[in-house]
């Protein structure tokens, strides 16, 4: 770490912080992916997690994923609530026996020293009704603050995980705020420079938070969104139906990934509609069910693809 220039140190800059995590997990044999090019509510939706968690093949990956939570927008006025923020996601299948130790080492790599910080694994059962997924694990606490989510996937997209994958999700802004010692997310030093060269998180994202809050709560075109939901749902089903190929004694699917993109799309559109307050309590449940049905059908297709099936 001493070899790093000061502006790249994880406790000085947000980008240095992300790079430190990427470097650490690359050293553990993970492929370092780039963010998926679609809007999604959590890093778990990335096909590198949702789909790759299924099937028997080994899979170790890490990536940053922007998370869109339209309802969490606060017009840039709340010190730590954002409608767009970064998650750092690690998935290891099968879960290695020392995953907890690896996680603790990753904290050390971003400057959290376990001899002065109180790190705790506090029960948290994870469930995603929209993904038809659940797992057991913990919220990881550092000095009373939840900094990560640690989950052993048991089921994803309605399919039992065999073997089980371990998933880690770091809330990057929150962790970086802690490491940098700032109370307002917009005050995070993004590039680790000082004076005129310094770029803050606010410089990069404050305007976006204000604009998207306006959009999410007030102006997002609901008629269009309802239509988009329906279209994504139809497209997903269409691609799934078209992808099945019956050959020999093995059923094969040739279009699980494009179909799953439509499922991601439907899920995000639903989140936007929800933020606009146009979905009633009873309808809400039925929309969640509809997305889950898509996710399950995609999972079923995935385990019949090259990457998802048994060798």
């Amino acid at each position: 770490m001493d070899a790093l220039p000061a502006h790249m140190r994880p406790e000085r800059s947000f980008q240095g912080f992300i790079l430190a995590l990427q470097r650490f997990w690359a050293e553990q044999g993970c492929v370092i992916l780039q963010p998926y090019d679609m809007e999604m509510g959590a890093g778990t939706f990335h096909p590198a997690t949702t789909l790759r968690a299924l099937g028997p093949k080994r899979w170790n990956a890490a990536y940053v994923q922007p998370s869109r939570r339209p309802k969490d927008g606060r017009y840039g006025e709340n010190p730590n609530r954002l409608q767009h923020y970064y998650q750092f996601q690690v998935i290891m299948k099968p879960s290695p026996p020392d995953l907890q130790e690896l996680y603790l080492k990753s904290l050390a790599a971003i400057g959290i020293d376990s001899s002065v910080h109180d790190i705790r694994f506090v029960e948290d059962d994870w469930e995603s009704p929209t993904l038809g997924a659940w797992g057991l694990g913990w919220e990881c606490w550092c000095d009373g603050m939840e900094v990560s989510q640690f989950t052993y996937f048991q089921q994803v997209a309605g399919v039992e995980c065999a073997p089980v994958a371990g998933e880690l999700t770091y809330g990057l802004e929150r962790l970086a705020m802690y490491v940098q010692g700032v109370d307002r997310v917009y005050d995070l030093n993004f590039n680790g420079r000082d004076g005129a060269d310094k770029v803050t998180y606010g410089d990069v994202f404050l305007q976006a938070e204000q604009e998207y809050s306006r959009h999410n709560f007030e102006y997002a075109d609901t008629a269009m969104l309802f239509e988009q939901f329906r279209m994504a749902e139809d497209a997903c089903r269409k691609y799934l139906a078209a992808g099945w190929k019956e050959g020999g004694n093995q059923r094969e699917h040739l279009m699980a990934l494009p179909a799953y993109d439509q499922c991601i799309k439907a899920s995000h559109v639903f989140n936007l509609l929800d933020a606009r307050g146009v979905i009633s309590v009873t309808e809400r449940q039925s929309y969640i069910m509809r997305v889950r049905e898509l996710a399950k059908a995609c999972g079923e297709a995935w385990v019949h693809t090259e990457a998802g099936r048994a060798v």
Binding site: S115, F121, V122, L136, G144, C161, A162, V164, Y178, D183
Partner: protein, 698 residues
């Protein structure tokens, strides 16, 4: 005799599951030992976040030899049967079998001696089964082995197993078994951060001591004591008191292996938030204790956290981190509280139009209107001002829509009170927001302010009658709408406040306002017997005789719960006396004779006996005693003076005793017999002035 040490070392076990898991482990292992004929001297189980441990001491080294007899074929049975018997029992020939004499034909018996196995082998067999079938509320699979079906499930990944067995003085044996690739051995790990290296152990004594040296306190009770003692001391050192919280201490003891209490503080400006909100924020979200100032009895701006390490900087970083989080949480809470105060409670009510209480019972708004009307009706009966009761019912639920209650549902009612006070409501009206939910259970406070009583009764009655009408009654252990608690609440409100309230009239009125009416014929009676059941449970819990409740309800028309309780009390006292016991015996005897004779003649012996047919002095004496008692007891009951009614009853006893002593009921002369049976019936009738004695046990 030798001891067993078992440790199951895993990733962090949820705090709430630890105590039961330790208990299950002890129970399962000891039950199995006993079933295997291995009687032990004692057992104790422990749990930390990362391990379940069990010590069982004083187990014999071997099972006792087992002798069993097995019945064979009759003497002279066909050879096939004999050969089968020899093969099954391992006897070489019939010479080794015993012969059992039997009138139906003598037969062979084999005496089979099964030598006991070494305990070490028995343990190697039973422990893996226990681990595989352990009843975690939720368990999971992990790692490469989870690719195959049948892999081990545990609460979180299981890493290692210690299983040793041996006497105190010698090196113990490792119990040889493995579960899903985990080989039992005699090593474990110390504290995750402070002593992460391997520890090798022999038996419980050095296990516990070595763990302590490796910064792990094995016993959860010891961890809890440390937490509470240190927390108290920290508070005391600054002149404050710890706000004790046993449930929180239990939970925190399940989150750490090496508890270190540390004190932090927050900005004094947050003390403008109600204490309960501060406490809920700090407790629920951060698992920290709050601290009060003995001079004011209010919270002070301190909190106590429990860390899992002795930090090299003395805990400075940990305290600073926790203070940051608590500051952020409290500023959220303060924002919620301040925001709530800007809106008047009644301004929130229209939103209830959109919120369904239950699909068959309408919206919350409709329910609030029902409660208002009912509270106004009840108010004069309980001495409450009708206007205040109506206003209180109008506002009582409004806080459900506030930010603070949204965040901390357990503060419902209390926040309503604070917000009502803040907007200048009458003190009784404000108090009813909190108190109309009471009493929540047998140990909870019963409100005494008439306004709170009226709203509490209205709320509970509406709930009971409503769910009764849509046939959502509690069954067995299922009571999702807490109707039993509501009924007990009504009983306690009435009895503790000595209220005279015709509960059926109130229930009927509540029914009239429901969107779905229910069966007007059946419902009141059903509901009343539900109250009777609750009353019985309550009296039983207080150690009183619950059979007397039936004896009183059986009189019919008993919907004044206070009077029911008074009758039951007087009856209980009376039955404790000799007069009471004997009268009960006499009445029961009369009832028994009557029911036998009624069956024989297939008729009832009702109606007044004919005095001209009395031919013995005891008959006349009984008849006049009955007349006197009926009159006196009847008058006393009319005055609701049950003690006097009971002592009047006592006068019946000598006459009844003498009657049974001297008079033969089944006289040869049918007319005399009939008359005497009618007289017996009169005893039964007379005692019904106070209770149906046939329902009383004993």
């Amino acid at each position: 005799m030798p001891d067993l040490l078992l440790e199951l070392f895993s990733e962090e076990i949820p705090a709430r599951m630890q105590a039961k898991a330790a208990d299950d482990l002890r129970r399962m292992v000891t039950d199995k030992l006993v079933a295997e004929g291995l009687v032990y001297e004692g057992a104790k189980a422990f749990a930390t976040p990362r391990r379940l441990a069990l010590t069982v001491h004083g187990i014999p080294t071997r099972q006792p030899d087992l002798k069993t007899e097995r019945r064979g074929p009759k003497m002279g049975a066909p050879d096939a049967a004999v050969q089968g018997f020899l093969k099954a029992t391992g006897l070489k020939s019939l010479d080794e079998a015993k012969i059992q004499k039997d009138p139906k034909g003598d037969f062979y018996i084999a005496l089979i001696e099964k030598p006991g196995r070494a305990t070490l082998d028995v343990l190697a067999e039973i422990l893996p089964v226990i681990i595989r079938t352990f009843p975690w509320p939720k368990s999971m699979r992990w790692g490469a082995r989870s690719a195959k079906s049948g892999s081990l499930s545990w609460v979180r990944p299981l890493h290692s197993i210690i299983a040793t067995f041996g006497p105190e003085t010698e090196e113990p044996d490792v119990v040889k078994f493995s579960v899903d690739g985990i080989e039992a051995g005699q090593t474990t790990l110390g504290h995750r951060f402070m002593a992460p290296s391997t520890i090798s152990v022999r038996r419980f004594e050095d296990y516990e001591a070595k763990l302590k040296a490796a910064k792990v306190v094995l016993d959860p009770q010891a961890r809890k004591d440390i937490i509470l003692d240190d927390a108290k001391e920290l508070a005391f050192a600054q002149g404050f008191d710890l706000v004790e919280d046993q449930a929180l201490a239990d939970e925190v003891a399940g989150l750490v292996e090496w508890p270190v209490a540390l004190m932090g503080s927050f900005d004094k400006e947050f003390l403008s938030i109600p204490d309960e909100v501060i406490r809920a924020t700090i407790r629920n979200n951060q698992k920290c204790f709050v601290v009060s100032d003995p001079k004011t009895g209010k919270l002070t701006n301190k909190f106590i956290l429990t860390a899992n390490i002795e930090a090299t900087d003395g805990g400075k970083t940990i305290v600073a981190g926790n203070e940051r989080v608590i500051r952020a949480r409290l500023s959220d809470a303060k924002f919620f509280y301040d925001t709530d105060l800007k809106t008047k409670l009644e301004a929130r009510l229209p939103k209830f139009d959109q919120i369904v209480f239950h699909e068959k019972l309408g919206t919350q708004a409709e329910r609030i209107k029902r409660i208002e009307r009912l509270a106004a009706e009840i108010a004069p009966l309980v001495g409450a001002d009708v206007g205040k009761a109506t206003r209180a019912a109008h506002l009582a639920k409004a806080d459900l829509l506030t930010e603070v209650v949204g965040e901390f549902p357990e503060l419902q009612g209390l926040m309503g009170k604070y917000y009502a006070q803040a907007q200048g409501e009458d003190a009784s009206v404000a108090a009813a927001s909190e108190d109309h939910y009471k009493p929540q259970g047998p140990g909870d406070r019963v409100p005494t302010d008439p306004v709170s009583i009226a709203v509490a009764l209205a709320d509970k009655t509406d709930t009971l009658v409503g769910f009764w009408a849509i046939d959502e009654k509690p069954t067995g252990s299922k009571d999702p709408y807490a109707l039993r608690r509501a009924a007990l609440g009504v009983i306690r409100l009435i009895v503790d406040n000595a209220l005279r309230l015709p509960i059926l009239n109130v229930a009927k009125s509540a029914m009239a306002g429901l969107p779905q009416k229910g069966d007007a014929q059946k419902l009141p009676g059903d509901l009343l017997s539900f109250f009777a059941d609750r009353l019985k449970v309550q009296l039983r819990d207080q150690g009183a005789r619950h059979d007397l409740v039936d004896a009183v309800f059986s009189l019919g028309g008993q919907d004044d719960l206070l009077i029911v309780v008074r009758r039951v009390e007087a009856l209980g006292k009376f039955l404790d006396t000799d007069d009471g016991k004997n009268l009960l015996a006499g009445t029961k005897r009369a009832s028994n004779i009557l029911s036998i004779e009624e069956k024989k003649d297939t008729r009832a012996f009702e109606g007044a006996p004919d005095p001209r047919l009395y031919n013995l002095p005891e008959e006349k004496a009984l008849a006049s005693a009955i007349d006197q008692v009926k009159r006196e007891a009847g008058n006393a009951v009319a005055r609701e003076d049950f003690a006097t009614a009971m002592s009047a009853m006592a006068k019946l006893r000598p006459a009844v005793d003498a009657f049974f002593d001297k008079v033969k009921v089944n006289d040869d002369e049918p007319k005399v017999r009939e008359n005497r049976l009618k007289l017996l019936n009169e005893i039964r009738a007379a005692t019904r002035a106070v209770a149906d004695f046939s329902k009383i046990e004993g």
